[in-house]
């Protein structure tokens, strides 16, 4: 292994001399400007604040069509990433694509966890905060039930909520939300109890700092950053590219802290015990039996997803009892599926059409 590393270092020195040094310096020097540009682009789709609670906000996007479909769509992002990945830039917005379909779209923004959120259990995020957002969306829209669109960790949260409140959920979309946590993914390996003492981490740090999460995400494939630098170097004069690049850079480097107690339960129950798969996962003392889901359900996985491997997402499709269910596996990655250059021809039309059919 050491010899292989020596070879790789030698090759790297050659690349550095062949021009990569200039690419890297240009990229690192541009970071502040990239982030500043990104800030002007994200979360720009016009919306109205309809509910706020602590750091949480619930946004209702302004309609972009003359008529709207009656069943609202509530987007549930991950607890630890900013919601604006689903509204990354005016020309790269999943929320915008759904609005153009005539859907009535709500966005849950978990906000940035503070010390006040440290003791809030995962259960309270699902039945409390998410539950209240569902109620607000129902009240605002006048609809009996909502369509839940959960992305990443939000997929698990939306599925758990659907088990507990089936009458409130007209349709469920799990977008890259893992269900089987004992998969081949790197997080599944890194969080094993023999390597990670979750109690020590939470008892010491409280909320898991955003910097630590950022470091962890980066360490999945640290060398990826070199390709980003090269992408930027090659297309730095193309404004259409640099806009999206800036917004993406901002989002990927801008996680939010993971509330301490929610992290404890999430990692111990799901990653370490895989409790959602063996039926022992509970929320507010009630078992989350995925077989109790009967709502129309769309499961979307990405074949190159290294955060939530597609097989671990697709399991939901097999576990539920819904007569109306569909599984889509896209040829993209975890983030690219939502905001990549082909999202507008792959994910958005398929998701929009599926939701539109079930939101009438």
């Amino acid at each position: 292994m050491a010899a292989r590393m020596d070879d790789l270092l030698e090759q790297w020195a050659a690349l550095w001399g062949a021009g990569m040094a200039q690419v890297w310096r240009s990229y690192t020097a541009a970071q502040d400007a990239i982030r500043a540009t990104g800030r002007t682009l994200v979360g720009q789709t016009p919306a109205r604040l309809v509910h706020a609670e602590g750091s949480l906000r619930l946004l209702r996007y302004l309609p972009q069509t003359e008529t709207q479909r009656p069943v609202p769509v509530l987007c549930v992002p991950s607890l630890i990433n900013h919601y604006y990945v689903m509204d990354l830039a005016p020309e790269r917005s999943l929320a915008g694509a759904l609005l153009r379909r005539g859907l009535d779209v709500y966005m849950l923004d978990w906000g940035v966890a503070t010390a006040a959120d440290r003791a809030r259990p995962l259960d309270a995020y699902i039945t409390g905060l998410l539950g209240r957002c569902v109620e607000v969306a129902r009240r605002e829209s006048g609809s009996e039930s909502v369509a839940l669109l959960g992305y990443c960790m939000g997929g698990m949260m939306a599925a758990a909520y659907t088990v507990l409140a089936p009458d409130r959920v007209a349709a469920l979309v799990n977008l890259a939300g893992p269900v089987n946590y004992h998969d081949d993914g790197i997080y599944s390996v890194w969080t094993r109890p023999e390597y990670l003492d979750v109690d020590l981490l939470v008892d010491t740090l409280g909320n898991i700092p955003a910097e630590l999460l950022n470091f962890t995400f980066h360490m999945v494939r640290p060398s990826d950053e070199l390709l980003r630098a090269l992408d930027y170097w090659e297309r730095r004069d193309d404004p259409a590219f640099t806009r999206i690049f800036a917004a993406m850079q901002l989002w990927t480097r801008d996680p939010t802290p993971f509330p301490g107690e929610a992290f404890r339960k999430y990692v111990k129950d799901l990653y370490q015990r895989n409790a959602l798969m063996d039926g022992t996962f509970t929320i507010d003392g009630q078992p989350i039996d995925l077989a109790r889901i009967t709502a129309p359900t769309l499961t979307i996985a990405a074949r190159r997803d290294h955060i939530a491997p597609w097989e671990s997402v697709a399991v939901l499709h097999e576990r539920i009892s819904s007569a109306d269910r569909q599984l889509i596996v896209l040829e993209s990655g975890h983030i690219g599926m939502v905001v990549g250059s082909d999202a507008g021809t792959q994910l958005w039309p398929q998701l929009g059409a599926w939701l539109a059919q079930r939101s009438s």
Binding site: L8, Y195, L196, S223, D224, L230, E234
Partner: protein, 103 residues
Amino acid sequence: MTEPPVTLRQSVEAWERAIAAYWDEVSRSPEFLTRAGQQLSASLRSRQRIERMLHAAALNLALAYQQGERQRLLLEHLQARLDDLSARLDRLEQHLGDGGAHG
């Protein structure tokens, strides 16, 4: 026919694939993860110890401050009494002086 020139991108992509595969292998290995986990736990325990020390130091500081404040108040009280006594002595002396002059 000559080979097309290898661009910087091709070279970097090939190198990145190789290093990523290497890193994936390393970062999944029990040896690496055991050491990383031990180091993380050790850092967290150190932080807990430092926090306990700082907490105790802050507590001691607060106690010392409180004690100092009590002594300052006591001294102020004593000073006030001394001032009062001194004023009373002055008045007594004045009174005695006045009495002597009249007697």
